[in-house]
Structures are given as C-alpha cells and as structure tokens.
Amino acid sequence: MAQRVVAIIAALIVAGLVIGPVTAVLWRGGGFTALSAADLSALQFTVWQAFWSAVISVALAIPVARALARRSFWGRSALISIMGAPFILPVIVAILGLLAVFGGNGFVNLILEPLGVPKLDIYGPHGVILAHVFFNLPLAVRLILQGWLTIPSERFRVAASLAAPVFWLLEWPMLRRIVPGAFAVIFVICIGSFAVALTLGGGPKATTVELAIYQAFKFDFDLSKAASLAVVQLCLGLGAGLIALLLARGDMLGAGFDRVVQRWDGSRLLDATWTGLATLFLMAPLLAIFIAGLAGLFDLPIGIWGAALRSFLISLGAVALTMALALPLATKAGEAASLLGLSVSGLVLGTGMFLIVQPYVRPSSVALPVTMLVNVLMALPFVLRILRPGVESARVDFGRLGQSLGLRGWALWRIVYLPRLRRPMGFAAGLTGALAMGDLGVITLFSRPGEGTLPMAMYQLMGAYQMDAAYGAALLLVMLSLGLFWAFDKGGRAHAVV
C-alpha cells in the first residue's frame, strides 16, 4: 500500500514538472496568429533538416550495418561499442570536433585547398545536417544491424544453396520493417536538437524553431514570442513523437551484437570500404579533440574549473533525483507516461519553467536547479526502459519468497530489489550522469556568463574564438562525461551477483 503511495507521488511530481511548464507555455503563447514569416521559415527549416538528416543517416547506415552483419574482423565489437558512444558524447564537444575536421581551417579544407576545390563551409544548413548525421548514423547502424541479426542464419544457408537473390528474398523485407522506425526515431531527435542549430545554424536559412526560441529570449527579450514558438515546437514534437511511436520497433539500447552470420555473397572490398569510411567519419573529430585538447588543457581559464564543478554537481543531483523517481515508476504505466515527457523538448520545458519562475525570482539565480530538473525529465524515459525489466524479473522470481518472509516496503527494496537491480541501476545512473554533464540546452536560456555549466563555458570560449582553451575544455568535458558513465557503470557491476 505504502509502495503504491510512493509511486503515485513520483508520478505526480513527474507529471507536474511536465504539465506545469507546458501549461505556462500554452497560457502565454496561445494562438498561432503571432507567427511571423521568419517563424514560419524556422518551422519549415526544422522539418526540412530533420527529414534530410534522417534520410541520409539511414541511407548511409544500411551498407555499414550490412558490412558489420556479415563480416567478422579485428575491432568489430569495439567499433560497435563506439557506435553507442555518441549517445553520451556531449553535443558541443562533437561539434567542435566536426569543426576541426570540416571547418574553415579544418583538416578537410587543408587537404582540398591545394587541389583547387572551393572551400567547404560548415556553417549553415548542410553543417546542421552533417552534425546530425554524425550523431545519428551510429544509432541508425545499431538499429538496422539489430534487424539484420534477427534474420536466422539458416535462411542465408537455404538462400545460398538455392542461389537465390539474398537481398530481395531476405534483406529487403527486413529493411522494410526496420527502416521506417529508425527514420522516425532520428527524425524526432533532430526535430528537438538545439545545440547543433545553436552552433552551426543561424541566419534566415538555418534557424530551427528551438533556435528561434533562444533568439526571442536572448536578442528580443520577447517572452510572448518565445512562448508562442514553444507552442509550435510542442506541436511539432508531439506530432513527430506520435509518428515515431507508430513506426518505431527495436530497442535503441539493445545489446547482443556479437554474432556474425556466415554469408556467401557480397564483396569484401565494398564492405571494408564502408566500415572504413564510417570509422573515419566517426573517429576523426574525436581524435582531433583529443590531440588539440591535450595542449589546450594547460590553457584553460580559471573560470572553467568552477563551471566544471557546477556541471559535476548538477550531474550528481540529476542522477540522485532520476533514480529516486525512476525506481517507484518502473512499471509499464510509468514507462508509458514518461515517454510523453520525451516528446516535449528540453527547451520547451525550460521556456515554461522560465515563465513560471520569472515573476518571483531572477531566472539566472535558478539556472542550475532548472537545468538539473530538465535533465532528469529527459533521462527518465531511458532510465525506465533500462530498469523495468530488472524490476519485473525480481518481482517474478522473488516476490512470493519476499512475501512469505514478510518483507514489505523499504525492507523489500533494501533486501530484494536494490541488490537485484545493481547492474541496470549502475548503467542507468551512468547514462543520466553523462547526459546531464554534457547538456547544452536550457542552461543557455537561464544562465549568465561566468555562472554556467562546463558545456556553456565551452560554448562561450568558442564564441570568443579562444579555440585552444575550447579544445582543452572539450577534452575535460569528455573525460568528465565518460568518466561519470564509467564510474557508475563499473560500480553497478562490481561484486554484482546475478
């Protein structure tokens, strides 16, 4: 009974944290009449870039996934693990890495310039799409690779012995089943992606709705306009989310890729080319950060350390609160409810929270708690997806034994559930910590220079063209994000008895 009360309280807190800001946004921004031509073009660009980002990510992922599905080579499992990393890689770090490779003075231009090729410019629509492909290509590869591995190996043997066309017989039906879902998931992610548009977009040609919200805040100081843009973004997110819910299959965080199906078709050279290009595309920006960052670590302005500390504390707070809310909500209903929060973007929640607190306190004074709360709401759906199977199997396996021993309430959690959940809790806490550490979103609305988080400070260094320090900050940020993930995940695995 007490347990149900706790679950209901947790559900009410989550619902309040989503519905409150959404209501505030609707209240202030209601009515589409306020939309200007610029707003409409932002809406158009948001959908356009999300569409092409998803199309290109999926199209490139298909040959890469096929190569990974049918070839076994040294480093294959490492490569697949690395494909999971962009999920916890701070967006701003990846963008700086992409700038180092594709930017005006980047690597690619250094090579192409002497050949007389016109200079590549990463700022603008194609830059936004490039960054989105960088983030979502690995996700698409993993989703589609899962699809490939669901085809039983016997079927490939039958097809080989019949000399049947493998693609049309086996692969095309699988792709038709998997690809729409992968497309939809990536489309949703790109609709709500803010930091990429903030850094690489801008101007009349490359402003997303979220970027327009930010500009309404920062440049126009027009809260009504920000709110009505947030309503647009809300509708966009919910619409895209609904489509994704209908189309999406497969598990984004799924494991079990260590199987290679033996095949008798396809070109080894072609597969090697695709995996090689994908590896290069994904690794080059990270390598650039690492090399340039090592030198920059010694150039870090003193303020960076304060920002790093603030980010670290936000991260730990987000982990604690997310876990406290997730454990009682780890049920089917709880997971479904939290998905609702996922389609509301962080910036929309931030706008709503700004509207709520602004009459009472100076928004910059609550920048850090608000950032933490928004990160909790963003992480919750993933965390629930990770925890729920563990809670359910503990309940099935040990529920009756616990009941017959009279274990209830906190004792039941302490003695039965928490020890059973160590591994998934460690993994989930690691994800939450890394995501919160690297988030560059709502903090940009609230914070003032010198009071922000590490990603914010890094963004300001980039804006001031202090590139050496920015690389150093990027390396520090990556180390902290991945370090947090590693520490929590490791903590969950140590001494865990399964």
Partner: protein, 230 residues
C-alpha cells in the same frame, strides 16, 4: 487441523475448488496431473492466490483474509528459494526478521539449524557456490526456522537427481515432524507419496479431493485417478 471449506481459488482465469480437511502434524501429499491445480492449492493455502469464496481456517481460526506473512505457513518454492546476492547465513536469518546483519542470538539459532541440515561450514557462502542439494538444505533450514505450524512444499527438489531427491524428502519430513510441523507437499510422483506421506489429496480437473490414507489411495485409487496412476 487445516480446513478449506467450500473454497474456490482463482489464478489467472483458472479456478480450483477445494473442500477438505488436512490433519495437523501429519504429512499430506498433493498428487495429480500437471495443470490440474496442485500449485494453486498450495498458493491458496499460503495466501498468494486470490480466494473467491469459502473459508480457510487453521485450528478453527479463520485465516482467509490474512496476507501471506501473517499465515501460519512457511513455504519451499519450486525454485528461487534463496536470494542469490545474500550469504546462506543472511538468507536463513531472514526467517527471523528483516536484518542483513543478524544479532548474535539470531546467528546462533541460524547456525544450530544449519548444523541440523548439514551445512554448518557453508554459512558464509553465496548460493551460487553451493550444489543443488546444498541449496535445498539452506532453503529447508530457512523454512524450518520460520516459526510456522504448516510447511508447504511445492516440489522444491524436482531439479535434483532421484537419489538426492529422496534423501532431501526424507530429511525435510524428518526434521519438520520432529518440531511438530504439518507438512503439505506437492508431487507428481506416487513413489514420493508412498515414501513419506500419511495421506494423499488427489487434484484433478480443477478440484482438490478430501485426503485419503496413502496406501488406500495408491492401491485402490478413486476412479478419477486410475488413468493418471496407470
């Protein structure tokens, strides 16, 4: 006496009716084809399965509405009798309270009981470091240490080899009877019943029958069980 009076138990759309009396201090086997409702009967007595009608009473006290931990019942489940993340000592000590670092007094009682089931040297091990037979002994120790008048056994030894199964059955019944427990055990093997049970409850097609003395049940079974016993 454990009395299920006109009781109907419901588990996932499946019902079992039971109108029977189980004698205190005796060993009663529950026999029947798989899917007939043997485990549902035990679950009903233990309070895990919802009861739609009738009364379950123990020594004329109505226990129908009591939650599992308030019934005079300890249970050995088919599997998952031990928490894998706790030591044998911690697992068995849970019989006497929800503490993971038990008091000296509780520890002494646990060690006594472990000695009786032959596990005195293994108190600090975790279940994964025990053999199947040793795990069964630890679970038995826990069930015996719970101060409950009735011990229910839902085929807890079915994963053991035939020799070990017979040995564990003998040990359980011997120790349980020594402290005056009433034992109700599910089995699908008539030889188990012949070995240890005083009486047999036949369960077939959603109905549990009144117990019949073991020899009589096996030699001259009711018509409904002739096919099953072969």
């Amino acid at each position: 006496m454990l009395w299920c009076r006109d009781s109907v138990f419901v588990q996932g759309g499946y019902t079992l009716s039971a109108d029977l009396r189980i004698e205190a201090g005796k060993v009663t086997a529950v026999i029947g084809p798989s899917g007939a409702g043997k485990s549902t009967l035990l679950g009903g007595i233990a309070g895990f399965v919802a009861q739609r009608s009738g009364i379950v009473s123990w020594n004329s006290a109505d226990i129908t509405a009591l939650p599992p931990h308030k019934r005079p019942v300890s249970m050995l489940f088919q599997d998952n009798n031990l928490f894998p993340h706790l030591t044998v000592l911690q697992n068995v000590a849970l019989a006497l309270g929800s503490r993971l670092n038990p008091t000296r007094d509780v520890q002494n009682q646990v060690e006594d009981m472990l000695a009786r089931v032959g596990l005195e040297d293994l108190a600090t091990r975790k279940p994964a470091a025990l053999s199947g037979g040793q795990q069964s002994r630890a679970a038995l120790a826990r069930a015996l240490l719970q101060d409950r008048a009735i011990m229910l056994m839902d085929e807890p030894f079915s994963a053991l080899g035939p020799g070990m199964k017979a040995e564990m059955l003998d040990l359980s019944v011997e120790l349980a009877q020594a402290v005056g427990r009433t034992v109700v055990m599910v089995t699908h093997d008539p030889a188990d019943a012949a070995r240890v049970a005083d009486a047999v409850i036949g369960v077939v097609a959603g109905k549990a029958w009144e117990p019949i003395e073991t020899a009589r049940f096996l030699n001259d079974p009711p018509a409904a069980f002739i096919d099953y016993l072969g």
